[in-house]
Each structure stands twice: as structure tokens, then as C-alpha cells.
Symmetry: D2
Subunit: 337 residues, 4 copies
């Protein structure tokens, strides 16, 4: 941590900062510039409440030097992590495709989808049983009934299954039925939910918040890992910007940035990022080319009657075509698919 | 709802849309333009899944005409609402000041604050017992112990008290101790929490999400009201933009926009919006001038040792000065304070 | 400037940085932390190309400590500046209202407007003769003919006049007719235009770019002042965010932030910021309460037939009402109006 | 164009709108909904000033149905355009790499770069002679001297050359030396410059503005084409968001969106988009996989001493490696490179 003093700060103010630092058993390195004095803190910064230093007399600002996340940080865990979901390994040279409907609507819809996506090469079935919807009047999901269908689809097809959870009650149900919990974008900083998901020990798919920085996203992952659960997979799904041609703006740079800052696997969801079916294929290819460890793609037996997110869902033939299209890109990237 | 067809859409595609609309018992009004055909839907749109229409052949886009929130909508409830919090009325010509520390740290800190802010004119004491923090290693709040101090401070001073809740467990505790529940920015679309807060019947202070549109915010309010609880107060606390001189960007326009679209009271939190103490006073004056029904201002006996949000907290003398400064502005706006 | 080295950087890499710094005649202060080494630079940083240090081996990042603008910086010019426009003083305790149509459409329209706004208390007449429009097919302004009407309106009413310029040719015309040049939001980083405007010596009204940071805005002002022209007035007119209820998001915090970082006067344009007439009055009151030195308000004899920006223009009676409404707020802020 | 009336608008207000429409020789289609009346306009909308309709009594809002750009619109020009730059064709199945330094610093630097990039497969040399810089104290370019070096480099290597222009004076110089003009992000809505660039007839590389929507970008292209110059190539270079891990956020979705809405070729600049060298390669692969027609990549003989944008520049061996890496991706996309 670095403390930058205001221009021509008084000696007294500088001494005050040094005293605060030394009182905590840390040491201060002083650098007297022509215009400003800078104080470096040496030692365990968690002992200091930096925000208080910030309001000490004549402090201009505080510059953090190290990231606040440790367990998710590549610096302290240089090898890329591999997360096991059922029999599927995410990370480590695989390209894992998760697919399925936005919302589980019926056993038939789910089973048809599970069989179709498996045939095309997907390894994990997704399906929403608890749907966070902007309006209370929109379809909210089948809840536990949907989870049961997920489990049956797993038994029928051998696919691993992942389902979003939105409350402790949903987690308590989900652990009985699914292989992986998903925390959605709107709950990325629902810290209570993160901790509860962490405690289950199940692998967690953590979507990026609509306006979360990458730093905040990794801190959210830290909440899960700090519960003793290192099985976190990140999912980039678009951020909110002023652009309206797509539902969100896919921040594809997040893939190399995460690879540079963290050891956690990262997948990309081009369906939610764009909200437009015709943009799903090009962005799925991008994700593979950027080095993502997997993809989440919405599919539906008949998108025209989907209860949720029809416009971006692929039909089964479209999904098959996408998988064919992705194979050579995966190969170029040295990924098994 | 309006359906805009693609340029030179085939008759068959247009007929298809009309059939879907009429199948639901609604009627369709066709407008054949030189370039495009537009279809207006007459009747109860909730019977249609607009997203599915969006992917019907040759549909260019769907334009919603009416808002999805009803109970929060001024159109169906033209009179401004007044929300009672303990003995305090928010809305209807009052300027209500809520103040207190970001986090409850001790009984002494809270009592000192409660007495000081009451003397200056605040009517509601705020204080966080459950703190959502970006990093799991930051101070997370005193939890139920903090709530107890809040209740005691209420008994001691007669101030109403409001506290943020972050989980069902927190709500279950809070209802025993506080007059008003706060849903924080990070939980604005934690729909499960909104419903549970709604069920308590307690007034709810609903902060705007970091990147929530006003439309989404009013839909979040709708979740609470739809549980039979009309006692919602909105709180603008800054949105996320590219600007870094302030922690967030206070969207002051939200005040007149909410007044135009909804009957719910709205207050402003300049402390969190800016994160900088010297900007709190000018923005508090703005909020009053914009027509806000109240303010939330962070205060602390000694900001330099606050465990959270020190840089933006006011000392008691600063808070007294702010209240003095605001009085004539409140008077100009015809508000009692 | 501070150089933060990567964790466990080699001694050699640290020596390399020190050598670069000392080669330029500057000195380096080393702070060896437990995790990272930090190097403070003492001396005239303009001699260093910081971006190159950034890519030297094992450099984590460079933290600038001082702002790049000097002439616009309050640190080096603590007294607030007063800018004279004709006989009008902006800054220093006045509240200056600029008003007029978005686009000059005819002599009659402009004269009617000039008389009406003068009567209500405006001191400066605005009017666009060169209109930057998103589409090439929209009305682009009367150009030099419009400027002539501006000059005539000045002679007729005694109001000072300001007009936007969008090219060197426009500047060359404008200097013959107007008292103040306006650089619009889209040209805020048209550095060529800034320099040319600076060279004229005329006062310049510099609007904030649609997505400009405050730091970039002050650097743009620096371009003008560096040409020997200190007569710059800043104008906050809304920034681009994801919110769609208003055309832009008025960043009202910019007023106290500018007051804290610069000595230049700042005015607010609530008409362009919101694009909605009914929000103009509350935001104009905000601007005064925030401490702005003035306002820019669009007016039109008959907004329903305006060739540009009708929705946000006030009629003359509405403008008169606004001025009446603002007077007591100006008085509270200690401003003459 | 669709006019949505306010709920329960009076008959008189509806008749007023119809009269305005019919006065212009257009016709109105009325759709009386249960809640609102909607009026569709049939005929040539350019005859209407929609903003004025917006403020007519009881109008809720105006919904545009057709895009304002025509010449850049795929609807009226379904075949993809191919733009010739010297002997190089952009569009139509090629992958064109433009490369070179951010700023031309010396003849030697430019020649070394030209030879190196040509060897690796680039077809166009870029180099800035007029540098728009945030601070007036940063290096501003060699101006005409830089252009001369560009021309000499073209003669020496046979590469086509492109250079940014920032003023009419710069255009007048550039036409003597270069094959293609570049309009930079900060000037995307410098409409005067767009028109002047259009008049030259030279191909124009139009970078997307820092916070420009895709719709505004295509309207900016329209300004150039409307001058009779159809030779426009678009360049996505990142937009401004709240994320700070990269300098800007590359909006990779812009590639398929542009392909869907326009016939103009589009290239991607991952160097400026990220500002970080290690992210350039993954994002360059993305651009190819998304379907871009080319790339702009910054290179420098020795980035550590570059006068501008060192951190993101590739060395020649790194550029060679990137080109090798891209070849198989280009092949998969069916592009010649």
C-alpha cells in the first residue's frame, strides 16, 4: 500500500501517518518528491484500515498495490485449476460445452434437449428451475419439480447437470439433484449466497455481474473458496454498456485477463451476452479462439414457444451445426472436444 | 405492444403473427407502411410471450408500449404515496433525514451517533449490522448484536431505525428489532430477498442497483408490493460509469424521473454516491432542490477510525452544519424539516 | 510517479528501473515491501516516458501522482477565475444564464427569443449556426447567415452571444460576429479545434464529451489555455450511461469535483443532459444548489415547430417561470442573478 | 415511424397528430388499444420532424422504425463491399493486416517496421503523423515530415499506407502521401472532418468513437459516403466502460452486428482496445474468428523506447509469431492471408 500525501503536506501530517503505520507493527518507507511525499507501507496491510488513512490530514490518496483476493489469485497458485463436475473436467485442455434451455419447462422438453445436445458433443446439461426475472409477472421457473427433471435427465443420459440457485432454500434442494450450482449475474455480490454455495462443496459456476469489474468478480470467487471449496468456474456473460444492438456487451477480453490473474477456469455464454441468435455462432468461435475453457449455449426444442429467452436459443440442428463449426477451432487451440 | 416486421416481409409471415395474436384472444391492427408493416396488439399482452414473437419469421423487433410494473406505476396510482416508518412519514411534504454509521461498531458509537443526529434534526437512524463487502476479508458487521443496539438506540432516543438485510435469516432477525428493512444495491435484483422483505409488511428502503435502469428498479419495487406490501421507499445512491473522480455517479435525474413515473417516495444517498466527504454537502443540497423526499447521510463519531466507509462519513459538527445548510432549501421546496 | 514492481522481481530488474530514472537526472527512492518493491521517482517526470517504464521487465504498474494539466489546475492557481464575455462576468459570485434556441432558424425566431430571455434575466444568448447532427440528412444549421443574426441580436438587445464552432472555417467566421466560442461535446477531444479556438483569444465554452472523464476534460481545457487563452468556461451536459429514461445522465457531481480540482468556472446544461422538458426545471435548481456558476437553457418561441431539439426546449413563459423559480436558490447560494 | 399516445389521450390530441402527418402528405394508421392509441406513419418520414411530434400534446413517445443511414445500410445494398487501398482489397474473403507504429518517430524506425511487417504478411503500413493526445504536453507527431516517410516507405516496400488525419490541413497534406485516410475515435463525430475526408475520394478507415453506438458509427460512415465516396472501412477499437483491467472494452460483437446491418468491411484493432501487449494475440484470434475483414496491430522496433503506446506494441518477432498463429484461423474462416 502506498500513501500519497497532498502537495506540500506539513511534516506533522506525515509524522501522523508514520505513527499510524508503526502503531500496527508495520514499517513506513518515505519518499520525498519535489512536489509530493509518498509513503510505502511494509508488512501485513490487513492490519490497517486504509480508508481511515485516506481521511487522515493531508492525505491525497491511497494506492493499493496487491489484490485483495488471495485464493483465486494466480500469484499464489500459478498452475491452472481443473474443476470436476460429475465425470467432466473443466480446465486443463478440454473444451466443455454446457447446453440446455434457459428454463426447464417440462420433462419432455428437458429430455429431448439432453439427448440432442449429448449427440452433438455437449457434456453438461443446463436448465433453470429458479428464474430471476425482471418482472414479478414473468414465468419464475418450476422450482423443485424442475430439479427432479434435471436429475432424471442426468440418469437417462449420463450428462452432468448444472442449475442456478437463488436462495438458501434453492441450494438445499439443488444439492439433492445436481452436480454443479450456478450463481447468476444478479447474485454475483449476494455474499450470503456465495458463502452458502461454498459450504456445499459442490462445484460452483459463478457468472459475472452485469456491471462487475473483473476484480470484484474474483473477490466474489474468493468468498466461495474461502469456505473451503476451490471448485469455482467463472462465466463471462456480457456487461452492461450504452450499446443497444446487443442485450449486453460480451467482454471477450475477460478471458485473457482472467487467465493472467487467476488459476480458475473460465467459460463464455454468448447466448445471454447478445440475446440474438444469429450472433451466437461468431461469438462462440471467439470464445474458443480467446482461450476459454468452455461455453454455455442455450438450446430449445422449439424456441418459438420457449417461456423464456426464445430469441437467443438455438434449435437442435443449429446446435449441431455450431458444434461442428467449433471443432476445428478447438483443435487449433489444442483443446479436446 | 407493437410488432415491426422486416422490410418487405412476406404476407405469410404477417398472417402468422396475426394468427398468434388472435389465438390468444387479442386483436391485431395492421399498418402497411411503404417500407415496413407494423402490427399493433390490442388486449391483454400478458397473454403473449413477446420474446417468442420476436423470433417468428421476418419479425424485425417488438416495441413494448406499456410498462411491466403496475402497482408501482403512477398511471394506476396518481397520488404520491406516504410511507410510515415508526412515527415518521416519508413523502407528502416532509424532508426526512436518515443518518448514522455505515456499520454498527459498538453500542457506544451508535448511541453517541443517535443522540447527535437527533439533535440536528434527523428522524431515522441507519446502521449496518450485515455488511456486504467486496472482499471476504473485510469487516462483515456485528449481525444480531448490531440489531440489538439499533433497537436500544430507538428506545433511548425515539428515532425510527432502518437496517440492511442480506438474507432470509437476517430478515427474520431484523423484524424483531427495526422499523424499516433496507435492500442494498447489490441485492436489488435478489428477487427472493425482495419477496421475503415484502412478506414482512415492514416498510422497505430499496436502493438502486449499481447498474440498474430506472425501469428495472421499479420492477424490483413491484416484487415487494406484489406481496401485499405497498410501503416501499426508493433510494438513489449512484450508478456505475467510467468516471473515477467519484466512487459512483449520482444520477440526480432519477428524482424527477421517479416522480414522473411512480407514486413511491424517493430519497438520495450522497455519501455512497460520491465516496468523498467534501462532495456530500453540495449533493445533499441538489437532492433537496431536485425534489427528493429525504436523504441518507453517513455520520460517525470519529470517521478516522471507522471500520467501513470512513472517507465519506461526516463528523457530528459537520452533520449539524449540513442540516443548517439544508433547512432553507427544504423551505424553498415547501418541505417540512 | 510511482513504479510498482512485480512480486519477487529480480534485483536486476529493479536496478534497470533505477538506471532509467537516474539516466534522466532524476532520483529514485526504493521501498522494499514484504511482497513487492516500490520505486518513487523524484524530479521532473516529464523527462520520463512512463509508458516505457511500464513495459520494462517485471514492472507491475505505474501510478501517476500528479495531474497532467497544470494551467487549469487549482493547485497552481488557487483563486477561482472570472471569465468576461462581453460585459458579462462568469464566475465570482454571479449566476449567469445563457439561453436561446438549439439552432438559429430565422432572424425573427432569434430576435423574439433574445428579447424574451433578456426580460426574464438571461445575460447571454446562445444559438447554433453549425449543428453537429448524428445523421447527414438532419438540418445542419444556417452557418454564416445564422452568425449574422446573432450579431444583430446582440446589437438589438445588448446581450452577449455564444455560438458553437465545428471547424477552423467556422471559427474564422465566428470571430467576426460573436463574444464567445462554444466547443461541443463531440469535439471536446478535437485537439486541433481546441488549439485554434485558443488562438483567437475569445472566451471558450467547453462542453464535456459524451464519455469524457473529468481529467480528460481538464486536459482539453489545458489545450486552450496553453495557447495563451485563459478564458475557458466548462459546461457539464450529461454523460453516456446505460440509462435510457433520459437522453444522457447529468453528472451533477462534476460541479463540486471541478470546484475542487480547477479554478475555471463551470455551468450546467440541463436541456441537453435530459432531453426532456419536464426535467429541466428540477435539474436547473440542482445545478444552482451544487454551486454552478451558470446555466445553459434551451428556449424556443414555439418548440413544436423547432427544427432541432424541440422536446427539451422551454417556451418563453416556461423560461420566465424557471427564472423566477431559480432566484431564491441563487440567493441562498450567495449568487447575483 | 410509430407515435405512441399517452394513456387515455383525448380524441382531440389524436386528431392533432393525424393532421400534422397528413399535412405533410403522409398517411396515418390508427390502432386503438385497450390502454393506448398507436399511430403508424406511412410515407416519407424525412418530411416530419419527429422531435416535434414528440412534444405535441399527449404524445408518450416516438418509435423510429427504419434506420437513418441509407447508403451504409445492408438493406439497400445487400452485397458486401470491397474497398481498394492501393493494390490491396479489404473485404471479400481477404484478411488484411495493417501494422506499424502508433507514431512515426523517424525514417529509420518506419523503414525497419515496414520491412519487418511486410515479411510477416502485413499488406498495409500504419503510422501516426498527427497524434491526438489527451495532454497538450505529450508528443504530438512529426506532421508532414511523418507523412513523407510514409510515402517513402510505400515506395521502398510496395505496402499501401494509412495515416490518421485530424484537420482539414492534415487532409490536404495527407492526400499527397498516403493511400488511405484514418479518422480516429475522438473525431468519429467531427462531421466537418468526415465530409472533408469524403470529398477526397480516398478510402477512409473510420474508427468507432469511444462511446459511440453502432448506429451512430454507421451514421458517421453515411456522412463520408454521402459525399460520393463509398470507400469506407470500419474499425472497432474498444469502447469505454467501467472495467479498468483493459484500457477499453473490445466490443467484439460489433463484428457480427456490422455484418448484419451494413455492407461495409470491418477490421479490429486489439492493440488500442486493450492497451496491454499480452492480450493482443488472443483478441486478434477472436477478431478473425468473429469474421473481421482485417486487423490493425501496433508494432515497434523497440517498444521500450516508443514515444507513444509502448505497452501494447509488439516487437517484430512477436508480430511474426502472431501472423503465424493467425494463419490457420484465417484459413478456417475461408480467408486469404
Amino acid at each position: 500500500m502506498i500513501i500519497v500525501m497532498k502537495q506540500n503536506a506539513k511534516k506533522e501530517s506525515i509524522k501522523n501517518i508514520i505513527r499510524i503505520i508503526e502503531d500496527k507493527g508495520l514499517s513506513a518507507h518515505i519518499s520525498d518528491g519535489k512536489e509530493v511525499t509518498i509513503i510505502g507501507v511494509v508488512g501485513d496491510k490487513t492490519k490497517l484500515h486504509d480508508q481511515n488513512l485516506e481521511i487522515a490530514p493531508e492525505v491525497e490518496r491511497i494506492v493499493p498495490v496487491t489484490e485483495s483476493y488471495k485464493l483465486a489469485n494466480k500469484k499464489f497458485h500459478p498452475e491452472p485449476s481443473i474443476v470436476k463436475v460429475g465425470n467432466v473436467s473443466i480446465g486443463g485442455g478440454n473444451l466443455v460445452i454446457m447446453s440446455g434451455p434457459c428454463a426447464v419447462e417440462s420433462r419432455e422438453q428437458l429430455f429431448d434437449t439432453a439427448h440432442a445436445i449429448k449427440k452433438s458433443g455437449a457434456q453438461i446439461l443446463r436448465g433453470g428451475a429458479y428464474k430471476p426475472r425482471t418482472s414479478p409477472y414473468a414465468f419464475q421457473g418450476l422450482e423443485e419439480e424442475g430439479l427432479k427433471y434435471m436429475k432424471e435427465a442426468r440418469e437417462e443420459t449420463g450428462l452432468a447437470v448444472v442449475c442456478e440457485v437463488t436462495s438458501l432454500a434453492a441450494i438445499e434442494s439443488a444439492v439433492k439433484y445436481v452436480d454443479m450450482l450456478q450463481i447468476g449475474a444478479r447474485n454475483m455480490q449476494n455474499f450470503y449466497l456465495l458463502k452458502e454455495a461454498g459450504k456445499t462443496g459442490l462445484p460452483v459456476l459463478l457468472k459475472r455481474g452485469l456491471s462487475a469489474t473483473i476484480d470484484e468478480w474474483l473477490n466474489a470467487a474468493e468468498y466461495i473458496i474461502a469456505e473451503g471449496n476451490p471448485n469455482v468456474v467463472l462465466c463471462e456473460r456480457g456487461i452492461r454498456t450504452f450499446e443497444t444492438a446487443t442485450r449486453n456487451t460480451l467482454d471477450i477480453s475477460a478471458v485473457p485477463v482472467i487467465k493472467s490473474k487467476s488459476h480458475l477456469p473460465i467459460i463464455v455464454d454468448p447466448s445471454h451476452a447478445t440475446g440474438v441468435r444469429e450472433y451466437v455462432n461468431p461469438l462462440a468461435r471467439c470464445a474458443v479462439a480467446a482461450g476459454a475453457d468452455g461455453l454455455m449455449i442455450e438450446t430449445h426444442p422449439n424456441p418459438a414457444i420457449a417461456l423464456s429467452d426464445g430469441p437467443q436459443s438455438l434449435t437442435f440442428p443449429q446446435f449441431e451445426e455450431l458444434c461442428q463449426e467449433l471443432r476445428p477451432f478447438a483443435e487449433l487451440m489444442g483443446r479436446k472436444f
